[in-house]
Symmetry: D2
Subunit: 156 residues, 4 copies
């Protein structure tokens, strides 16, 4: 499947259904605003419940939506009967994360049967302004759906 | 100051005061359970609001407390009139993050006037069992308190 | 200066002069094939002296040219009288590094007075084929030229 | 097998034999000075051929021996008929890499059937002085020996 291609209804349901089961995303207030083959975008509107000590978005919230965006970007490409776990990720925080909302995009750079590697990018949006506030890399592992309780170092 | 040394009252107040201003930590339910010179430990009790799609702790919550633990570990060593920002961090998720609570420890490996580097470790605690569920590295930047709104690439 | 802009003669001399003082790049056989504002490309032709145990390029060689490409990409933007040190980098190895040569590109994502962040990418070139074999992130620190012997955690 | 345990003759031969096939390690002048279950140490004596522009060890050489130390630390634990590939690694450079030699240690933090995670540490040794100059994390993948030419994202 080509990167960025339209997903069929079943795939959209599968990915959105999984996202909606993530208690943390709901608790933070994140929404999945776009999903295509290998590319997923999430929005996280600003709330005082998401801040660090200076009143900006906490890097933990930035990381949480970046991780979910990448995880679901990979998951759009996975076969039925499999699940996704994050093996590792790394994030560089390059501009202040302040504004009306954060937008995180995960984009598959290398799909694989075992491991999938994604680029992660987060923008802080304030009115018309978009500031690139974080960039990262993530490694995902594809596991059998009945082994999603295993360590993220095991293929299952 | 020696790593692990007792902090004085003023330092403890400064660090705890900053932690209490982090809206995200309160929203997630994290508590600072130990702070010494260059070493800080946080606890995050399990709640459905912290889960990923399989009902375990979401890597974003793991990352959030690991980042705060490391940030405050560095901050215990910083001079008055300065603030801490995270420049980057990287986390390997090595075992399932499931249990009654997560315990995150940040530990300064290299204190610096500009940058400080920390090891991050997270354990999943279930009853008597402690499982090492994540290990990471983090780079912090020390900025002037009146420049904490600048980019985390600038010393201020 | 715009990313990708032509550099003037003095800047080209300064960057190439520094690259030529890197004993490791000469020992590996790396050449700087392109340099523009914030973007530098290096080539590393295949030799048995660069291999890992299966006869492909060793990840250490891939890392070495990726690090130098990024370091010099940042350095093209630095003021006179300053030097560049690598603070940290992270590399994902996504395809086999085999072929006639490796091409590494460093590209500044966020220039800063203190820290500069780069994307690193390496391709393995075999005849007409280009395979993306590594992607990474790097943080550079700008130090005073007379403090280039300090720790890469200090601005100098 | 317990971390740090003595290896048997066959395992030592298997690991040392593989290390000796790494053309890059020979070209740099690295030696394997210690190997135990899950822990491997390499030495890299200083030479002008290993320098960056200021005459210290180039981060690429530091990365190369850190990567090999970690890779072989993992390999000591792998089953016969398998090979090791590096999936990703990240290195923080925390002190100047200058001295008579670099010592790199790779240490398995999480052994796995598919992925193995290592801590990497490098010291710069000058006479009696040991300076911790780099610390890192690495993810290895275990592949079938006849699939060691596959991408480091595939279990093979």
């Amino acid at each position: 499947m080509e990167l960025g291609a339209q997903l069929d209804e079943a795939a959209i349901r599968r990915v959105r259904g999984s996202f909606e089961r993530q208690g943390l995303m709901r608790h933070l207030g994140a929404r999945m605003t776009d999903l295509r083959a290998g590319i997923v975008t999430l929005h996280l509107p600003f709330r005082a419940e998401l801040t660090q000590q200076h009143g900006f978005f906490h890097a933990g919230g930035t990381a949480a939506i970046a991780d979910s965006a990448g995880g679901y970007a990979g998951y759009t490409l996975f076969a039925d009967g499999t699940e996704v776990l994050t093996t590792e990720f790394k994030l560089n925080l390059i501009n202040p994360a302040r504004g009306d909302l954060l937008e995180a995009t995960g984009r598959v750079i290398k799909p694989g049967r075992t491991l999938t590697v994604c680029h992660l990018d987060v923008w802080a949006i304030a009115g018309e302004t978009r500031i690139h506030c974080a960039t990262g890399l993530q490694t995902l592992i594809c596991v059998r759906a009945d082994r999603a309780d295993a360590a993220p170092t095991e293929r299952g």
